[in-house]
C-alpha cells in the first residue's frame, strides 16, 4: 500500500461474522470463580475457629508452644481441620494472587516469572505443610520432658 491520498484503507466488512477469540480451554475461569466462593465460606468457619482457639481461649498467643500443638494434633479432628485449612487456604490464596498478577503484570515475561514463583511457593508450602501434619511426632526422643505434652511421660 502506498502512502498517497489515493490509498484506500482496507477494513473488514461490517457484515463479516464476529469470530470470538478463545483465550482459555474449557471453563477453567468459571470453576475458579465458583471455587473462590465455596472455599471462602468454608475458610471463614475454619479460620475463625482456628483464631478463636489459638488466640482467644485461655492465655491466647502466650499459651502456644510445642506442647500446645502436640495436644491439638493428638486429636484427629484438629488434624483434619488444619489439613483442610492448609489446602483450601493455599488454593484460595494462590488463585487470588494469580488473578492479581494477571491484572497488573502486563508483560508476558513478567507475568510468567511471577506466576512461576507463585506456583513454586504453592507446591513447597502445601507439600511441606501436609508432610508436617502426617509425620508429626508429639514425643520426639531425646527432647526435655518439660517441653513435651504430658501424655509423653504417662
Amino acid at each position: 500500500m502506498t502512502h498517497g491520498t489515493a490509498a484506500v484503507a482496507k477494513v473488514d466488512s461490517p457484515r463479516s461474522p464476529y469470530a470470538r477469540r478463545k483465550t482459555t480451554r474449557g471453563n477453567y475461569e468459571l470453576y475458579s470463580w465458583v471455587f473462590m466462593r465455596a472455599s471462602g465460606v468454608v475458610l471463614l468457619v475454619l479460620i475463625f475457629g482456628h483464631l478463636f482457639v489459638n488466640l482467644m481461649v485461655g492465655e491466647g498467643v502466650h499459651a502456644i508452644d510445642f506442647g500446645f500443638v502436640a495436644g491439638k494434633w493428638a486429636s484427629p479432628m484438629w488434624q483434619v481441620w488444619d489439613l483442610l485449612m492448609l489446602w483450601l487456604a493455599m488454593i484460595h490464596g494462590t488463585n487470588g494472587v494469580r488473578t492479581i498478577i494477571n491484572d497488573y503484570a502486563t508483560r508476558d515475561v513478567t507475568r510468567g516469572v511471577l506466576k512461576g514463583l507463585l506456583y513454586l511457593a504453592f507446591a513447597v508450602v502445601v507439600v511441606l505443610g501436609t508432610l508436617v501434619i502426617f509425620t508429626f511426632d508429639a514425643c520426639p526422643p531425646g527432647s526435655p520432658a518439660e517441653l513435651l505434652p504430658s501424655f509423653c511421660t504417662a
Binding site: R37, G40, G60, H62, I64, F66, V69, V97, V132, D137
Partner: protein
C-alpha cells in the same frame, strides 16, 4: 471500588502471612526447642500488634467475602451492595471489639 481494593490488599497480606506461618509451624518437625523459639517471637508486643492487624485483615476479608457472595448469588444483592458494605463495617467493628481487648491483654500482661 474501595472495598474491592481493600479485599485485594488484605488478601495479599493474608497470603504472605500464610506462607510464613506454614514454615514456622513446620519447625515442630525440627525440634520442640526450634518451634518454641520461633513461636516466642510471635509473643512479643510488636508481633502482638502485627497479629491484631492480621486478624483485622482476615475479619474484613471474611465479611466482605460474604458480601461478594450475596452480590453474586442473591437476587437483591446488587441492589443492597452499599447497605451490605455498612453491615460489613458494623460486623467488623463488633468482632474486633470482642477480639482486641482480650488479645491485647494477653500480649501486654500475659506470658512467661
Amino acid at each position: 471500588m474501595w472495598s474491592w481494593v481493600a479485599h485485594r490488599v488484605t488478601g495479599v497480606l493474608i497470603f504472605f502471612f500464610l506462607l510464613v506461618h506454614v514454615l514456622d509451624t513446620a519447625l515442630v518437625r525440627v525440634s520442640p526447642e526450634a518451634y518454641n523459639a520461633a513461636i516466642g517471637t510471635y509473643q512479643t508486643p510488636i508481633m502482638g500488634l502485627g497479629e491484631a492487624g492480621l486478624v483485622a485483615a482476615i475479619v474484613f476479608h471474611a465479611f466482605n467475602g460474604i458480601r461478594i457472595l450475596l452480590v453474586d448469588f442473591w437476587a437483591q444483592g446488587p441492589r443492597y451492595q452499599k447497605v451490605m458494605l455498612w453491615v460489613v463495617v458494623g460486623l467488623f467493628v463488633v468482632t474486633m471489639a470482642g477480639f482486641l481487648p482480650r488479645h491485647l491483654v494477653n500480649v501486654f500482661t500475659g506470658g512467661h
